[in-house]
């Protein structure tokens, strides 16, 4: 397992939309690599015969019937909105399209 480079840390910070200072990046670069070192120790174990596990609570097939129930009113839904226009939430444009 190769160590995380400074560029990797910057990229992960960007994906998480974290604006980090040079100092914070250095701190996190050390901490992230330290965590990866612990995994390096774990990866020494032979797990060949153990199936991958994504859940440890031991339940499966929790489904609900397709029945519609009452929703919130627009005023309830928008109660915590920093800004609203009529019954819409308002957010700054995140430019993705042509306009």
């Amino acid at each position: 397992m190769a160590a995380l480079s400074r560029t990797d840390v910057e990229h992960v910070a960007f994906l998480a939309r974290l604006g980090l200072t040079d100092e914070e990046l250095s701190l996190l670069e050390g901490q992230l690599n330290h965590i990866l070192d612990q995994y390096r120790v774990l990866s020494e174990l032979d797990t060949e015969s153990i199936p991958p596990t994504a859940q440890v609570i031991g339940v499966e097939n929790i489904l609900r019937d397709d029945v519609a129930e009452t929703s919130l009113t627009p005023d309830e839904a928008l109660a915590g909105a920093p800004e609203r226009q009529d019954d819409y939430f308002v957010v700054p444009v995140v430019v993705e399209g042509a306009d």
């Binding site: 990229h11 994906l15 939309r17 994504a54 859940q55 609570i57 339940v59 499966e60 097939n61 929790i62 489904l63 609900r64 019937d65 397709d66 029945v67 519609a68 129930e69 929703s71 919130l72 009113t73 627009p74 839904a77 928008l78 226009q85 009529d86 019954d87 819409y88 939430f89 308002v90 957010v91 700054p92 444009v93 995140v94 993705e96 399209g97 042509a98 306009d99």
Partner: protein, 501 residues
Amino acid sequence: MAEAAAQARVARGAVAWEAVIGIEVHAQLRTASKMFCACSADLRDAGPNTHTCPVCLGMPGVLPVINRRAVELVLSTGMAIDAEIASVTRWDRKNYFYPDLPKGYQISQFDLPLAAHGQLALDTSEGPFTVRIRRAHLEEDTARLQHTADATGRRISLVDFNRSGLPLLEIVTEPDIRTAEQARRYAEELRLLLRTIGASDAEMENGQMRVEANVSIRPAGTHGFGVRSEVKNMNSFRAVERAIAHEIERQAAVLEAGGTLVQETRGWDDVRNETYTMRSKEDSDDYRYFPEPDLPPLRTDPAWLDAIRASMPELPAKRRTRYVSILGLTPYDAGVIVADPAASALFEDALASAAGLPADRRPVPKALANWVTGEYLRLAKQRDDGGHASGAELTRLVSMVGEGRISGTNAKEVFGRHVGSGEPVEAIVSSMGLTQISDSVALSAAIDGVLAANPAAVADCRAGKDQAVRFLVGQVMKATRGQANATMVQRLVRERLEERA
């Protein structure tokens, strides 16, 4: 036409290009409630943010619960495309930040889709074609954004979370498609399949079915892949074909001019007839999928799968084959009927009703099919509600024509009224006084009257003018308000003329 021009260009260039196309379809599933919460999924006439709750608004601390019906609809779809169904599946988080996604991740499926390795067979103008389908999985839809400006001119987005959390089926093909027409036909056939099994209404015009195409080109005969673009915003089947044809031509033009292509997402502009750059895709694939910890895994029990399989209706391809090989319809008529679920249901009901009649009064399937492809589809297209045609009534009407109780022309009028009102055909026939006169005594009286009133035409007939005979027959039909049996009238008129000679 743009399509023809594009194909001509691809063939004409210094290099012959071959297109490599893969299609990704998202279809809203036909459920009563959303994917992971109990908000209603019926958004017709819904005002903004009227169908939300803490789950689909992405509030902290809430937990999703899987909608069983949505899973079943994807499993049916998997079976309908002949796919392998996962015995164990789970959901994963696809992480990205965008205002249409309040949690910061979309619950989707990554490495264990509900269905994989399927296929869909279709007909094109160049012959039959089979598209391999890589996977079909179940995810949640995102909120709807409207980009606008506020009173001060600041650019804002208005967010409506009604769509957030609707169950969404994603179906991805292998890059098997080679022409814009194949792409359109695939989308059409998939839509028909989804509607037939009741998985989705799949109306492209209102976003229930969204089609995206990955398009690249390569010199014909080579096997590598060119730089691809993802084409979006195609909101009709016609747009799918035109957008892809345009994109193939655009890429060929860039390469032939010595340029290079960049991997990007392009939108289709239906008015200007061209694609435009939406965004370049360098790191948007960095979704950091990981298993959704809030949802336990799902095991698809064989008994559950058997029950779903047993409840599946006859699929379009099988139905077309049956119509042609067993019922004797032409492939064209079979295709027209099966392509329209309402026409198909009408025809099936008419057949079932005909099966209950004695053989001498039973209309043949071909006769029923002619009414469905002709009069029914013509009338249904003129109406917003599709009309009120009943298969049993159609069979009764065709049977009355066969027995000579009503003329073909009058039957069309009766059927038109039936489609409009749903009234039984017998009632319409008697209220219009249309029962056909096949009684030779009654007809003779009418014929005698017409001959007496038209001595000149009678003389022309005797001089051998066939046209005059047709005129006299027409006059008899008119005198009986179309109720006379036309074949009998012809025979009787000729007999009477000979007697008089």
